[in-house]
């Protein structure tokens, strides 16, 4: 990272909005000693601080002061109580109170102990606060990771469902291929997808039909592929919708051809999502039944 790149980071650094890698690089640069960048960063921080005055009127300085005043009183009362405790001589069992010198000694020790206790409490409180912030940051990071993992899991489940559906259709295709009344139509590529191809298998006896394709480009958003039966008697009849994935064989169920009509052609066109009643889009594949 050259010097200009470091200088470009400074406005974002003043807002505490550097990405971790950028913050590390800036820290290293400043640690190596760069008075120019240090001065500029101070200046950018003043600019950032000015932003704090943009939000409009809120809160009450007198209520804030009441809170502070209460803390000052608590602090003063604690100090006063400590002073009284260590400075008030007491008679125990009718004995004479210890001498002033003795009480001074006790007071000094008690004051030192109180100061040490105060410092210790503050150190512990600071550590606890830092630990709490660290834990919150870790929690936030774990929460992000959990969200990512959930997304990955959902994607994996969707993929698994797709594969299961493809396997079911492949099994169905195998059964049709073994049927004695198998009718096969080999789909040939047309101009929109020259490398594509496929097959449509129909068994009227077992009432099953399946289309399998390869080499079709994925349908654009809002579009889908639609299979058609074209019969001598009734023209094109819709036979099912399916999607294609790059580099994958697509296997999908098809509806049975119209009863009592002779299919002379099967065709695949690209249509609006949800399908249409009559073909409107470009034809990608077509094929006639194999001779029996």
């Amino acid at each position: 990272m050259d010097h200009q790149e470091v200088i470009d980071l400074l406005p974002l650094a003043a807002l505490d909005r550097l990405e971790p890698g950028e913050a590390r690089q800036l820290d290293e640069h400043l640690r190596e000693g760069c008075p120019q960048c240090e001065a500029q960063l101070r200046s950018w921080r003043e600019t950032a601080a000015a932003l704090a005055s943009a939000p409009q009127g809120a809160g009450s300085d007198s209520r804030v002061w009441q809170r502070l005043e209460s803390r000052l009183h608590t602090e003063a009362a604690a100090a006063h109580s400590l002073a009284r405790t260590v400075s008030r001589p007491r008679r125990i069992g009718g004995e004479r109170a210890p001498s002033v010198g003795w009480w001074r000694g006790v007071a000094t020790v008690a004051t030192a102990a109180a100061v040490l206790l105060l410092i210790y409490n503050r150190v512990i409180a600071n550590r606890a606060r830092r630990a709490e912030v660290r834990q919150l940051q870790q929690l936030e990071s774990l929460s992000w990771q959990l969200n990512d993992l959930r997304s990955e899991l959902t994607a994996a489940q969707t993929e698994a469902e797709t594969l299961r559906s493809v396997l079911d259709e492949r099994a169905k295709l195998d059964r049709i291929l073994m049927s004695p009344d198998l009718q096969l139509m080999r789909l040939q590529a047309l101009a929109p997808a020259p490398g594509a191809g496929g097959v449509v298998a129909v068994s009227r006896a077992s009432r099953m039909a399946v289309v399998q394709t390869f080499g079709l480009p994925p349908a654009p958003p809002g579009k889908t592929y639609q299979l058609w039966w074209i019969t001598k008697e009734g023209g094109p009849t819709k036979a099912g919708l399916f999607y294609a994935q790059t580099g994958r064989m697509s296997v999908a169920p098809a509806s049975m051809p119209p009863a009592g009509q002779r299919v002379i052609l099967a065709a695949v066109t690209l249509e609006p999502a949800g399908g249409v009643d009559k073909p409107t889009g470009a034809m990608y594949l077509k094929g006639a039944p194999d001779r029996e």
Binding site: L12, E46, L72, L136
Partner: protein, 187 residues
């Protein structure tokens, strides 16, 4: 940020007096900054009482650490604002860890007492900043406001605004440069 009038002690003088245990100096600093800091904290936290407690924490920290304040590291205003924003973000994270974020409540106006010179100066400062923000390109302003008044990282800002990460960096940097120019030109 707030230049004191001739009769008023400067921010640095107030902090020096606080370091010597002068509670009146803390009072003066509170009158000078509490409302601005509360308005800032309210951008992160919905409850006014929480915001005021956070600001009291900030000023109490300033009172406790006044002796270690180093003017060479920046102005008193920048110090207080940095403390307030940092505490506000900590509170926001703590609250988000416990419950889903709530919409910010509209801040209520409240009367301010004391130090009219500082109040006037703060009002002028606020007007300059608001004018400078209003003059920014809408995209730059959105990126800068999310960077300063939220706890979103650059990547999260990019996601929120639906723009590439590089564009976020450019917009924030440009906005900061324009803001600095506006501040230096009008001060």
């Amino acid at each position: 940020m707030a230049d004191a009038s001739k009769a008023q002690p400067s921010d640095r003088q107030l902090v020096a007096a606080m370091a010597a245990g002068d509670a009146q100096a803390l009072h003066a600093l509170t009158l000078r900054y509490a409302r601005m800091l509360t308005a800032l904290v309210l951008r992160f936290c919905a409850q006014e009482a929480d915001a005021e407690e956070t600001v009291a924490d900030v000023l109490w920290q300033a009172w406790s650490e006044a002796k270690s304040y180093d003017p060479a590291r920046g102005s008193v205003a920048a110090w207080l604002v940095t403390l307030a924003r940092s505490r506000a973000i900590d509170r926001l994270r703590a609250r988000q860890a416990r419950q889903p974020p709530a919409g910010a409540a509209p801040p209520a106006a409240a009367a301010s007492a004391g130090d009219p010179a500082a109040a006037l100066d703060a009002a002028q400062q606020a007007q300059i900043v608001r004018t400078a923000l209003a003059a920014l390109d809408a995209g730059e302003r959105a990126a800068l406001e999310l960077a300063y008044f939220s706890d979103l990282s650059q990547s999260q800002i990019a996601q929120r605004l639906g723009i590439p990460l590089g564009t976020v960096k450019t917009r924030i940097r440009t906005a900061m440069i324009k803001l600095r120019q506006a501040l230096s030109g009008q001060r």
